[in-house]
């Protein structure tokens, strides 16, 4: 049943949802500055573009060790898949077919496609599990999570890895009780690509083992027939095929494999701690606050989505307690495990928190599937209040769906392009969060909103102190014409005529340095989100504007 074919209408609706999301993302990317990590990943992608050129010129010689070591050296902290896609997208859609006038848009396209893929798959999975309306609510709830909407624009790895966790889980579920080789191959290959995206994928096999244990336990408890073989062939495919695909698709591992895999693990298991503000305190070394992930989820995910997910969780646990069909049990258990494992690292106070909510973004698709479950139950119960009214069910569906999705949609659009500054009404919005001492911004991307002020105020050929913006991100903005071509980015305040400041408490010393060197404490321009200062610009008082 789980691997049943979808109706053509559902496939069309899934594609329409995904395409609509892609259109919204592509059309709203220009106001969003480039994050630090985007600068680094574009640097990696450019190295891979040079590798593509070498393949063109030298054929198989480009696959030799010298070539791989040279071009993939920047691509070894995180795996290669997305950077290969960024590079390919840039070469194809910016340089060759000129589909995108800005190179940054082309670099961002693969990330946006991954986000759109997640939206489409959420619709399909939700529809299969709970019906069309619930599937749509699950997909739109994910698409309209303001932080997800922000990350969905980026040439980064976080939404991609969330999408691949979701899609691999979906395929795993469809292959769970079968032994069709095509389905098994698909889930194994997809897990390999998932591994080749980001290290969150390391946790996936453990999640599947946990899932299997939970399913077998529930089957025994509820005296249900066992679904599929004791150990699903799909799990074997994940464990066996996945690493092979990782090896084949990440050329960096072709040489000194053991050493390089070990280095990859060591880098992430012993990652540096960066600073992050939480409830008025800047954390920069363990112990990190245990409540971080939970409070930040409450503070940044629309409450209506969380409440629907809580109702869905209640419904799922109730279904576990009662005898239900195995297929629901297997599917819902996979959602719960996806959430639990994604949040699990934050039970430890040693886990860094510097990336904020993006760390557990992989949980959100499953939260939204539970929200779809909650939506279905809400509709059923609400319409049952008027059993004699023939239109009660469609009306309840329309009302609950609209009120579940419109709020998050408005919030997501309103948050743009300040996505990381968004906070939900539960904590009083951006101003409430600022008063609570929650992080206002990081990653240096709000240079994007100050670009017009920089272009207007900078003297000819001026240097601009970029602060938290990576110089590679600055260069990308300049290459795309968002920043004047004659302006150069610098990390030396003393040689600058304009100075940016992106607010984080531990970085304030940079602002103080600017005060002393520029002789002013008054910014000349500011990126303000809902009355809260996010990033601002200083100008040397003696610097003539253009």
């Amino acid at each position: 049943m789980k691997s049943a074919r979808f109706e053509r209408r559902d496939l069309a609706l899934a594609a329409a949802l995904a395409l609509a999301y892609l259109v919204v993302l592509v059309s709203s990317t220009k106001t969003l500055g480039y994050m630090r990590d985007e600068g680094f990943y574009v640097f990696c992608a450019r190295s891979l573009e040079a590798w593509f050129e070498r393949i063109d010129a030298q054929g198989f010689a480009a696959f030799g060790r010298d070539s791989i070591d040279r071009y993939f050296d920047p691509v070894h902290e995180h795996p290669a898949l997305m950077k290969l896609l960024f590079a390919a997208s840039h070469r194809l859609f910016h340089e060759r077919f000129h589909l995108f006038s800005e190179s940054g848009d082309a670099y961002r396209l693969p990330g946006m496609l991954m986000a759109s893929l997640a939206v489409g798959v959420l619709y399909l999975w939700g529809t299969q599990a709970m019906g069309r309306a619930a599937g749509a609510v699950a997909a739109l709830s994910f698409a309209c999570m303001p932080r997800v909407f922000f990350h969905a624009h980026l040439a980064c790895l976080d939404v991609a890895v969330a999408a691949l966790w979701l899609v691999t889980s979906f395929l795993y579920l469809r292959a769970f009780d079968g032994r069709r080789w095509a389905a098994l191959l698909a889930v194994g290959v997809l897990y390999g690509l998932f591994l080749n995206t980001k290290h969150n994928a390391w946790m996936f096999p453990f999640a599947l083992v946990l899932h299997l244990g939970l399913v077998r336990l529930l089957e025994r408890w509820r005296k249900l027939p066992r679904s599929g073989p004791l150990v699903p062939w799909a799990l074997v495919a994940v464990v066996v095929i996945g690493p092979v695909v990782l090896f084949l698709t990440w050329p960096w591992l072709w040489f000194d494999t053991g050493e390089r895999v070990l280095a990859w693990f060591k880098f992430h298991l012993g990652h540096d701690y960066y600073n992050m503000e939480f409830l008025g305190q800047t954390y920069w070394k363990p112990p990190m606050p245990h409540l971080y992930a939970w409070v930040m989820t409450l503070a940044t995910v629309p409450l209506v989505t969380l409440v629907l997910a809580a109702i869905g969780l209640f419904d799922t646990l109730r279904a576990f307690r009662r005898a239900v069909d195995s297929s629901r049990l297997v599917g819902d258990a996979l959602w719960l495990v996806g959430i639990a494992v994604s949040y699990a690292p934050w039970w430890s106070s040693d886990t860094p928190i510097f990336g904020g909510t993006k760390h557990w973004l992989t949980a959100y698709p499953f939260v939204c599937l539970l929200a779809g479950r909650g939506f279905a139950l809400s509709v059923a119960r609400s319409s049952a209040l008027w059993p004699d009214r023939p239109h009660a069910k469609p009306l309840a569906t329309a009302v609950v769906a609209t009120t579940s999705v419109v709020g998050p949609l408005v919030m997501a659009l309103h948050a743009h392009p300040y996505g990381l500054s968004f906070y939900a009404p539960l904590v009083g919005g951006a101003s409430g969060a600022a008063s609570l001492g929650l992080n206002r911004t990081f990653w240096g991307y709000t240079t994007g909103v100050l670009a017009p002020a920089i272009n207007e105020r900078a003297p000819p050929r001026a240097s601009v102190y970029v602060h938290d913006t990576a110089l590679q991100s600055w260069e990308l903005m300049r290459a795309d014409g968002r920043i004047r071509e004659d302006l150069s980015g610098t990390l030396a305040i003393q040689s600058s005529k304009l100075a940016l400041y992106h607010h984080e408490p531990h970085m304030r010393r940079v602002e103080f340095e600017t005060w002393v060197l520029y002789g002013t404490v008054a910014p000349v321009a500011m990126g303000v989100y809902d009355g809260v200062p996010i990033a601002w610009l200083y100008a040397r008082p003696d610097a003539p504007t253009e």
């Binding site: 800047t282 209040l385 304030r508 500011m526 200062p533």
Partner: protein, 313 residues
């Protein structure tokens, strides 16, 4: 459901709370997005604020996070660096509190309100310090040639540091040294100088202070001339908290004396941040005399010491 008891049936109306919650959250989002004053409101405040702002009476913004907007809208004349990055509020006679969203400056709630004015979304309050310290001399205002001489002291010999007002001002960015101003006493190369800068305290707030990096061996001596002494020296000392919060640097000793009269010393440790101290000058209270600060640290590598002291009545 029709055959359920009426009480249970009524409970099912609770399901209508789900769409109600969606609407409520949307409404709250719109309300919260609009509640904090924007730039235009801040700019419109300039006239009313100027009427209340007095020299030496700092502007305090509540909530604190809105202060950059105030600086942009009102400009430098409302926020002289000496007031904005003051060491503490004890010697401030009054402050002008500009508050939005019903906030109050946490440390000033107990101060009596002299006047309160509503101006659009803001409340402007003049607050009176109930127990102000009367500062007779703020050392940070006298770091200039003619009022201060600086020397490196080692084994009884002195090497004076030359004053310049056109040194190249530098700053190290996030992980580098704090700003080195153009006006300073330079004692050889690098960070061995004395000048006024701003460091970050343990709350990452600005503190204006006298940079006085001790040498690796011996001491750095600052001699202020014609200081009108009161009963004590009220001061703060620290290093950039962000850079030195690990607390692994060697302790730094600051000693104060006037000729043969020693007023005592304080030992500063990195992890304490920008911390306060008091030294009694009762022995010479009411006299105007030269006053020496001597700063030393065992193995003075990266001892980016900064202090702010007032002679108070």
């Amino acid at each position: 459901m029709a055959d359920w008891p009426a009480r249970v049936r009524r409970l099912h109306y609770l399901w209508l709370l789900v769409p109600a919650l969606g609407l409520l959250e949307l409404g709250l989002h719109v309300a919260f997005a609009r509640r904090a004053p924007g730039m235009d409101a801040w700019r419109a405040l300039a006239g009313a604020a100027a009427a209340l702002k007095r020299p030496g009476e700092p502007v305090v913004v509540a909530p604190e996070w809105a202060e950059p907007l105030a600086r942009l809208a009102l400009g430098d004349r409302f926020f002289p660096l000496a007031e904005l990055a003051r060491a503490d509020d004890r010697s401030v006679p009054r402050v002008l509190e500009i508050a939005e969203l019903g906030a109050r400056a946490p440390g000033l709630r107990a101060w009596p309100v002299v006047s309160e004015t509503r101006q659009g979304p803001f409340v402007l309050r003049v607050l009176q310090n109930p127990t102000p310290l009367r500062a007779r001399y703020r050392f940070v205002e006298h770091v200039r040639s003619g009022e201060l001489s600086v020397a490196l002291v080692r084994d009884g010999s002195e090497k004076s540091c030359d004053y310049t007002d056109h040194a190249r001002a530098t700053a190290g960015g996030l992980h580098g040294q704090v700003a080195a101003p153009s006006e300073r006493f330079q004692c050889g190369g690098g960070d061995l100088f004395v000048g006024v800068t701003v460091i970050d305290d343990q709350g990452y707030r600005p503190r204006r202070c006298i940079w006085a990096h001790p040498p690796a061996e011996g001491a750095l001596r600052l001699r202020f001339s014609a200081v009108p002494l009161g009963t004590r020296l009220h001061g703060f000392a620290g290093l950039s908290y962000f850079l030195f919060r690990d607390g692994v640097g060697s302790p730094i000793t600051l000693a104060a004396a006037s000729g043969p009269t020693r007023f005592g010393s304080v030992v500063h440790r990195d992890a304490t941040g920008f911390s306060g101290f008091e030294l009694s000058t009762a022995a010479l209270a009411g006299q105007t005399t030269d006053l020496d600060f001597e700063i030393r640290a065992e193995g003075g590598f990266r001892r980016d010491f900064c202090f702010a002291v007032e002679a108070v009545e």
